[in-house]
Symmetry: C2
Subunit: 284 residues, 2 copies
């Protein structure tokens, strides 16, 4: 009944006997509860967020179904798991971007060892310079080529120009030799496109003093074939990973907000550079 997720692009993975998340056929995602402070923090977040967030923002978070004892993927026996919505379910060939938002992923309340380790990672990636970094991705190319899914090491070493290229490839039918960006207007643009959703999230972050989301990711997902077939709800914007989400203590999450604004600028530049007709107009 439980399976290794097919479309995981970042984080711990349940392969080679490691502890990692599982999915089932009913659209649920089982994330092993970490047995240190990170687990406590993430569980506390999921147990409280729906009562603390305004209605129009809740859709940016995976649905939380509680916790459940599940056979761990590493064979260590029953282990408590968070039961969450599987964001990739109902998507045949989803293209996915995992973007860790913020120009720092450490926070003052953390231990000195954690701060030093994480700060080093922030400086070695685009986190400090761009205010975000791509943590993982897969982009569906075609039935023949499958996915473009660069290795973690390659993703970690992405420069600003690599990020720009990824954001173009993400909304392209043909990735080579130059990404055609033919889905840009449909996916990034429009009144319910990704950019509009990011702006809605930004407006909330300008005001909210409930949570500070450290080391949290924005997951962008869409299914090229669904768009080509004219199916509805072709894409999603979700926030995931709350093991370092702490109380805001009356201050906005300026770290997340600044990084989000930077990411928004990168996305909007793809739209500005590729003012092409929407995919519907081109294929009809």
């Amino acid at each position: 009944m439980f399976k290794i997720p097919k479309h995981q692009v970042a984080g711990h993975q349940a392969i080679d006997g490691n502890l990692g998340p599982l999915v089932d056929d009913s659209g649920r995602f089982y994330k092993p509860l970490q047995d240190d402070e990170r687990g406590t923090t993430e569980l506390a977040f999921y147990q409280s967020f729906s009562s603390k967030l305004p209605h129009h923002i809740r859709g940016f978070f995976p649905v939380f179904y509680g916790t459940q004892l599940v056979e761990a993927s590493d064979g260590s026996g029953l282990h408590p798991h968070l039961v969450l919505q599987d964001i990739t379910s109902n998507h045949l060939n989803p293209s996915i971007l995992d973007v860790k938002i913020g120009s720092r992923t450490w926070y003052p309340e953390a231990s000195e060892d954690y701060i030093q380790k994480v700060l080093e990672g922030d400086r070695l990636t685009t986190t400090v310079t761009l205010g975000f970094r791509i943590s993982g991705l897969q982009i569906y190319e075609s039935k023949e080529s499958g996915y473009w899914k660069p290795a973690r090491k390659e993703v970690k070493s992405f420069s600003a120009d690599n990020v720009r290229l990824v954001l173009r490839k993400f909304v392209s039918l043909n990735l080579e030799p130059e990404p055609d960006c033919c889905f840009a207007s449909t996916i990034y643009g429009g009144c319910s496109g990704i950019l509009e959703q990011l702006l809605e999230l930004k407006a909330w972050f300008e005001d909210q003093t409930v949570y500070h989301f450290h080391s949290c990711s924005l997951l962008l997902l869409f299914d090229k074939e669904s768009v080509l077939n004219g199916r509805t709800v072709p894409f999603k914007v979700k926030l995931i990973d709350f093991a370092h989400t702490v109380e805001a203590k009356g201050v906005i999450d300026h770290n997340f907000l600044g990084g989000l604004c930077s990411f928004i600028k990168f996305v909007s530049e793809v739209l500005t550079d590729f003012k092409v007709p929407t995919i519907e107009a081109r294929f009809n």
Copy 2:
């Protein structure tokens, strides 16, 4: 002809034989050009900014009149100075806030020593937690009491609650026992108030990829007596200190923007908490 500025609240001061800025009676401010990279960087900024910034943003920066050899305040002889607009001229008893914006004042291009030193300062002040810190201030109380001007050491140790109190005192006629915030609507609010100006600056920062302003300050200035006498232009919002302003390389200044949004939230909370009539309505 050259004098020590009366209303300097932060930075190097030309007292006790030290090298510091000077002013004259014609409304000019002479800032000694630092003879290392900081001086080169600040001069390059002042020489280029007016051609690189949109017209409506230039007013946020002091007017630049070039450089001039001036007798240094430390008695070391002629020294090149930046000749700038004296923002405090024409103000009899200005209340001033110097707010260093950004959740980090270091930047990747700096030396490792500089980064470690500055990061420590960021962690010891509100820079990391609030996304900005108050670097200095003076608040005019009355003819009898003069200014409330806490010592640098006290300012450095400000908590979030201290910052909230300062922002209330800044727009109060009576600071004790509780700041009355009777200037809040006039100074922070209204269609040309400080909040509106900060929002204009924010809109520019969401888009501009010209400069990254590290360790740059927002100077807020207003003259209580001018407001009470109904004189125009009672307050100013200026950016100062560009010794660490570097090229943006196509990325928005997410560090400054995040901090600015946090500061805007603090200012707007004073307005929300003190919905009092404008000062004109109260005194007419």
